[in-house]
């Protein structure tokens, strides 16, 4: 028995993690959608889903059931086999990318030494799901949407890749685990060392996941729903799942590389150790809010559901607090790294996604040529300059013995100056073009 466990151990842990991810991700995606709808409603002076469950808490489940039961329509003229396979490619690839991500020090499927590159590379395959889906639908809207999408993904992958290279220069490794370890050693998250790089990655990642203001491929008002136009029911849901998984993936990359992964803010400073209690407190506050709302629910069953949610949150708070309360050395106390790491990681991912959504509710959509201009004439040059700047800072720091602050401060200012110049030049060119256009 013992030998069996020993034999299975290296396979078992990743397997469990993988199963957890595959099983939980659709649910998480559903609740991200709910969160998005609720946030959107809040910003738009309305309530959002309120009917299914208290405050719409069960809406994602209802949606999933509806989508599963919907008729699966395949257009007559479509290339059936490819039409079937395309959404599967999208989903598989998006989930595969999760494999190398370290959600807390305990929860990781595989710590590859090409970690981040693996995530990027596998993510790049997702484009086939989109392109093939759009092509096989045999519709102008789908095809245009797919082509736009492909062009957009390829363009912004360049900028995102170069931004990541900047971060990797700082880390000196590709393994996700070691990247976070390096940030712990430095005592500073890379966002503070390379803010421009983070900015570039943030913009490019929005574009890569086809989110507003870069959601041209599915620009509802222009191309109906882009490559998804002809899809319905479960296949459509798969595309949706892929999109939200991709959002989680890019948020995780940004968290890992720039936001310190599972590290608590001020992880190295003893004076800030009280932050360890924050997770439990946060859960308790949410739980308190749930209980406060319970009597106001109209129906018994809704009250029960909301109370259950509150209890769940209290349970989570207890789990998060337990390692802090028991004396060090026991197994429970050791679990702190894993549990709190996962909490902070997910919190950062959540905040990143929140910014995504915030931007979506605020901005109009770019036009395709404007999008390409922004990508190729601003972000790509800037990301190259950013890499050079970080390289310069590292040389100044390591070989010339400058301090962290002057070295990175100087290069950041330089990079920002280049950014300003690029923006100014772009503006000028745009104006000239407008004048020429008027004359012509």
């Amino acid at each position: 028995m013992h030998t069996l466990i020993e034999f299975a151990k290296p396979i078992l842990v990743p397997l469990i993690c993988a199963v957890v991810i595959v099983a939980v991700l659709p649910l998480v995606a559903g609740y991200i959608v709910l969160l998005e709808r609720k946030l959107m409603a809040d910003m738009q002076a309305r309530l959002g889903p309120m009917r299914v469950g208290p405050h719409g808490l069960l809406q994602p489940i209802a949606d999933a059931v509806k989508l599963l039961l919907k008729e699966d329509i395949i257009p007559e003229e479509a290339d059936k086999a490819i039409f079937w396979v395309a959404p599967l490619i999208s989903v598989t690839v998006a989930m595969l990318a999760m494999a190398a991500l370290a959600i807390g020090p305990w929860f990781q499927i595989a710590d590859l030494n090409i970690g981040l590159l693996f995530v990027m590379g596998i993510g790049a395959l997702g484009i086939f799901g989109i392109v093939l889906g759009g092509w096989s639908s045999n519709s102008h809207y789908s095809l245009l949407g797919a082509l736009r999408s492909a062009a957009q993904l390829v363009s912004y992958e360049t900028a995102a890749g170069m931004a990541i290279v900047g971060g990797l220069l700082l880390a000196g490794t590709l393994s996700t685990r070691e990247i976070i370890q390096t940030q712990d050693d430095y005592g500073v998250w890379f966002i503070f060392a390379a803010p421009v790089g983070f900015f570039i990655y943030a913009v490019a990642s929005i574009a890569e996941t086809n989110r507003a203001p870069f959601d041209l491929p599915e620009a509802e008002s222009e191309l109906v729903a882009g490559y998804m136009t002809e899809y319905s029911g479960f296949r459509w849901a798969l595309y949706f799942l892929a999109e939200y998984t991709n959002m989680v993936v890019v948020a995780s990359i940004a968290t890992t590389l720039f936001l310190g992964g599972w590290l608590r803010p001020f992880a190295g400073t003893k004076a800030f150790d009280f932050l360890d209690y924050l997770p439990s407190l946060l859960m308790l506050v949410f739980a308190g809010y749930c209980f406060y709302r319970v009597p106001k629910q109209p129906v018994k069953i809704q009250q029960a559901v909301l109370a259950a949610v509150g209890l769940l949150l209290i349970l989570l708070a207890g789990i998060l607090a337990a390692p802090l309360l028991v004396p060090a050395g026991s197994l429970v106390a050791d679990a702190k790294a894993g549990l709190h790491g996962a909490f902070w990681f997910l919190l950062k991912v959540g905040l990143y996604l929140y910014v995504f959504m915030w931007l979506r509710f605020t901005f109009p959509r770019y036009r395709f040529d404007q999008l390409m201009h922004l990508g190729w004439q601003f972000l790509v040059p800037l990301s190259i300059v950013n890499v050079m700047g970080i390289g310069l800072a590292l040389v100044l720091h390591r070989q010339w013995g400058w301090g962290h602050l002057p070295a990175f401060g100087l290069t950041t200012v330089l990079t920002l100056a280049v950014a300003g110049w690029l923006a100014w030049a772009g503006e000028k060119k745009e104006k000239q073009r407008a004048i020429v256009g008027e004359e012509a």
Binding site: M40, M43, Q44, A45, R46, H140, L143, L144, L147, A212, P213, D215, L216, A219, E220, S221, E222, V224, R360, F361, T362, F363, P364, R365, Y366, R367, F368, D369, Q370, A434, G437, E438
Partner: protein, 380 residues
């Protein structure tokens, strides 16, 4: 518009690359053609090199119906043309028939008509702003705009019981006296409305993406605008100071002070600015009007059966979308011999091809949006 530029043979085998141009059919079922407009676009890649609007999907024969209804019976039908600005439609029709009869509504009726029509202008522009922004991809302004529009619709509901197709006016004046809290309600809406418009502006006016999407798009010079017979905000954005409220005052507009906002470039951005400014001006008119609503009757001396003397009349008002004209011919019976309506949406839509050529597919929705068309009015 209807020339034979596009042989609309669907080239099923035409591909994006193989043919120099592809033909894309937008609508009639398309989320951003504002109803059932169908636009056939001739594309070179993503560039529009020609377009044709196909209309008539919402044709209900409004003008023909008029010939078989008495003058009063026809009044509710005009509300169904521009259904987001039903009050303005009614005003134009009632005033046209009054002109035919040679009477005029009492002053009190005219002032209340002015207030309601200006509120309708605000409501129409709000709805336009929301949907236009939505077309360009900004989700949030729509809900802000609908929030304010709701207040106006509530005023209508209190006034006449209906929210959308109100049938608020009667030939000769008003059927309903303004309810007790009317002034207060209008004031409660108008006073903070200025800040609300600032809110929309904060979201859009200086927004780089919004400016990039609208500036220089769908340009219509002053001369072209006049040639196409455009009216309303479309012509004013091109720099022509043409507003029927000033040029040929009707209702009670001559009593109030207001500005005619104009633009210079005649592009989508200018039309946006002009409409926002118009909302502000309408608010000022309303505020001026509720200060002093004269007492008196609300209904002029009009008989139960209308028999206008034989003759013809053309009366135009400044509807939210432009010049809304009614041409009515009477043969002395209780039913009009002929009614011809000049819908601003249709006439403005004719400039569409001129405005869109050379732009990209994504600009099509921007230009359709900026024209502020309502298909019910285009097709009648």
């Amino acid at each position: 518009m209807a020339d034979e530029r596009i042989p609309f043979a669907t080239r099923a085998e035409s591909t994006v690359l193989g043919a120099d141009e592809i033909i894309l059919n937008m609508g009639p079922q398309h989320p951003s053609t504002h109803g059932v407009l169908r636009v056939k676009l001739r594309l070179d890649g993503e560039k529009v090199i020609g377009s044709e609007c196909v209309i008539g999907y919402l044709h209900r024969g409004v003008e023909k119906i008029a010939e078989h209804r008495s003058y009063q019976q026809f009044a509710p039908y005009v509300d169904r043309m521009d259904y987001v600005a039903a009050v303005s439609n009614g005003l134009g029709y009632c005033e046209a028939v009054e002109k035919l009869l040679g009477t005029e509504a009492p002053l009190r009726a005219r002032v209340i008509r002015t207030i309601l029509t200006e509120l309708q202008r605000i409501a129409s522009h709000l709805f336009w702003l929301g949907t236009h922004a939505l077309d360009i991809g900004a989700l949030t302004p729509l809900f802000y705009c609908l929030r304010e529009r709701e207040e106006i619709l509530k005023i209508y509901e209190k006034y006449c019981g209906a929210r959308l197709t109100t049938h608020a006016f009667r030939i000769g004046g008003l059927q309903y006296e303004a309810y007790d809290e009317f002034e207060k309600d209008v004031e409660r809406f108008c006073t903070p409305f200025d800040k609300r418009v600032d809110e929309y502006e904060a979201l859009l006016t200086e927004n780089r993406i919004w400016v990039g999407r609208t500036r220089g798009i769908g340009v219509l010079t002053a001369k072209e605008a006049i040639d196409y017979g455009a009216s309303g905000p479309v012509i004013r954005a091109s720099g022509v100071k043409w507003d029927i409220r000033k040029a040929m005052p009707y209702a009670a507009y001559d009593l109030y002070k207001f500005e005619i906002p104009t633009g210079q470039n005649g592009d989508t951005y200018d039309r946006y600015i002009v409409r926002l400014e118009e909302m502000r001006q309408s608010r000022l008119i309303c505020l001026q009007a509720i200060e002093n609503i004269p007492a008196g009757p609300i209904m002029g001396k009009v008989g139960k059966v209308l028999k206008p003397p034989p003759g013809e009349v053309y009366h135009a008002i400044e509807a939210p979308k432009g010049e809304l004209g009614y041409y009515i011919v009477s043969d002395g019976t209780t039913q009009p011999y002929r009614v011809r309506i000049r819908p601003p949406s249709l006439i403005n839509l004719e400039a569409f091809d001129k405005m869109i050529r050379g732009h990209l597919v994504a600009d099509v929705v921007a230009v359709i949006g900026t024209l502020d068309i309502v298909l019910g009015e285009v097709d009648r």
